[in-house]
Amino acid sequence: MSGETPHDRRDVDGRADVEIDAEDDGGLEAEEVEARVGLSYTLVQLRRDPTALAGLAIISVSTAVAIVASIDALLLDYWLTQTFWYHPELGPHADTNLPPYGVSNQYYDASRSTLAHPLGTDFRGRDVAVRLFYGTRIAITVGFTSTVIGLVGGTLTGAVAGYYGGWIDDVLMRGAEILYAIPFLILVIVIVSVLDPQRQNALLVAMVGVGIASMPTFARLIRSRVFSVREEEYVEAAKAAGVKDRWIILRHVIPNSFAPVLVQATLQIGLAILIIAGLSFLGFGAQPPQASWGQMLNKARPLLIPNPWFSIFPGLCILFTVVGFNLLGDGLRDAADPRIQN
């Protein structure tokens, strides 16, 4: 394969390059080459990948749980969980000072079932299972929101830096470099303690902080893609036709860089869930009455030895959810890369 023509960009997903010489692409017809790039092709490929579908299934389940929990908390004022289960933050035994009980030695509640607390109760007599259920809500919300913040902020900065180049690029990329050099977790800890010393909205601040801290990753990715898209003829043409820069970036540059960003965003959601769990564990994320997995692990720490089940289940929940995002992210990456197909 020669592959030296400036038009040959089959490795990336640029849609403009249909005019590839027939012998250049190993006998594929032009339409076939076009069909091999782009987002729709990626999604078609994804359907053939069982691991990616497993990831998608995990994400769907977690998101569904998160939506049910959100509706219950925001619209129904915990009516759903209280009727069929227990209040996640007050719990059935919250006012008693009884010691925590494990799976083998539960509170017995005749009005419900013999297995009233399948995963035991915590140090305040709250049901662990219902708190885990509610923890999904925080994890999913925080993961998606912070990634959207990082995605939008990073994409815009990266696109502007890559499109204009010059000193704007220098300033923005040095900024990204500085942001990148401070450890992610420490940066967010400092941001949380600056913006919310009383930790009233610590989770919200942490979410925004993780979003800001993930901006450099997206900015770099988009910037390198912009460098290649910028030289495309249709961008030249748009410029010559007097289209505004802002419109060119939004209409041509960003959409043409979408596939790698989607891969990164999927992986970033998993990472954000891990980081927020770590922050909550240190006390800089979700705060005590809230049912978050990291917060539950924090409360499990002093009771680690007598009550190990406190720490086992929240960790497994984090693991399960993050595995889902990583599976889908890996699947998307493979599907977006035409070289891997056979």
Partner: protein
């Protein structure tokens, strides 16, 4: 020659980054609401006492003056200040200020804590590389066979597990149920028991004590190392596998195969070296994630390292401590990335430190 010039240029490029880190941490930590003096002196301190301490730490001066003084203090070589106004004078050494919480110079605290974190990180990355590189190579070599599937699952679970949770579970199993390993703090390999000093450096007894001292050192290191290193191990395994797969599909490998070179030899002599480039990159870049992980791991295992030091700083609104530790983290990261770039050339002879084009 090329190496020296390249390293110098990279170090010069690092200066604006470090300046940026110093600036960000200065303004961020000074924006922390609350008064560190209040925290230090308790609920209702006398006004004169407060004023005296504010003056002692220079907190009574305006923000911009403090910023300039701070930059002058942290710059290692030439900038000096009188009442905040910079002038060029040969002033050597770094002054990171005094920690308000500890009442001691920040540099002193960092000197005390940094070796602990470095030992932990070094041990974690050693563990990660020693396990991940063979795992990734075997995984690529036996692609889509059971070995590959197992190693991919291990890597997937590794990148998806919170490091601090691994630490908690390891404590439950190995410290509590099995009672094999200690669960708190580290023992430094060079903190020998007093009997060693009495024996003297040249005696056989000294070396016997020093050797037996390494047993508790290792025992304390094992659990935190696994806790911190698992994420790195998994990340490196994934990179190693895909890099090896890419090399194995290259034309030169096909050619070697066609010549009848045996697979083992192809792996060892041809494909392995070029596949290490992305691995080197990821190790350099993952230094920051590992620092974040160190904060969590040190908390779980009650280790007095840099991570717990910065947490102490944040919880006590100790500006100098926050600024100093963050700056040191940034410095190590920048140096790590430069070192990564330099080590590229050892692996890839085509890299020429970029001075041909100049």
């Amino acid at each position: 020659m090329g190496l020296f010039r390249y390293a110098t240029r990279r170090l010069l490029q690092a200066i604006p980054v470090l300046l940026g880190i110093a600036t960000i941490t200065f303004f961020l930590s000074n924006a922390v609401p609350g008064d560190p003096i209040d925290i230090m002196l308790g609920p209702s301190p006398a006004q004169e006492q407060k004023a005296a301490i504010r003056a002692k730490y220079g907190l009574d001066r305006p923000l911009w003056l403090r910023y300039i003084t701070y930059l002058g203090d942290v710059s290692p070589i030439w900038l000096s200040t009188v009442d905040g106004f910079p002038y060029v004078a040969p002033e050597f050494g770094v002054d990171l200020g005094r920690s308000i919480h500890f009442g001691a110079p920040v540099t002193e605290k960092i000197k005390e804590r940094l070796p602990v974190t470095m030992l932990l990180m070094g041990s974690a990355f050693t563990f990660a590389l020693v396990t991940a590189v063979p795992l990734g190579v075997i995984s690529a070599y036996r692609r889509n066979q059971p070995t590959d599937h197992v190693s991919r699952v291990v890597a997937l679970v590794g990148v998806s597990t919170p490091s601090f949770w691994i630490g908690l579970e390891l404590i439950i199993v190995f410290s509590f149920y099995l009672g094999w390993l200690p669960s708190n703090s580290l023992v430094m390999p060079w903190n020998l028991p007093p009997a060693a000093d009495q024996a003297g450096l040249l005696s056989v007894e000294f070396w016997r004590i020093a050797a037996s001292h390494q047993v508790p050192v290792l025992q304390h290191l094992i659990l935190p190392t696994i806790s911190l290193g698992t994420l790195q191990m998994a990340a490196i395994t994934r990179i190693e596998r895909s890099a090896m797969l890419e090399q194995l599909s290259q034309d030169y490998v096909q050619l070697a195969r066609a010549y009848g070179v045996r697979d083992r030899k192809i792996l060892r002599k041809h494909a392995f070296r070029p596949a290490q480039l992305p691995v080197i990159t990821i190790v350099g870049l993952n230094l920051t994630t590992a620092f974040g992980g160190a904060v969590l791991t040190e908390t779980v295992f009650s280790i007095n390292g840099m991570g717990t030091l910065i947490l102490t700083g944040v919880l006590n609104i100790d500006y100098p401590l926050i600024m100093g530790t963050t700056l040191v983290f940034g410095l190590i990261f920048v140096l790590g990335v430069i070192l990564t770039d330099i080590s590229y050339a050892y692996v890839d002879p085509r890299v020429s430190y970029g001075d041909q084009e100049a």
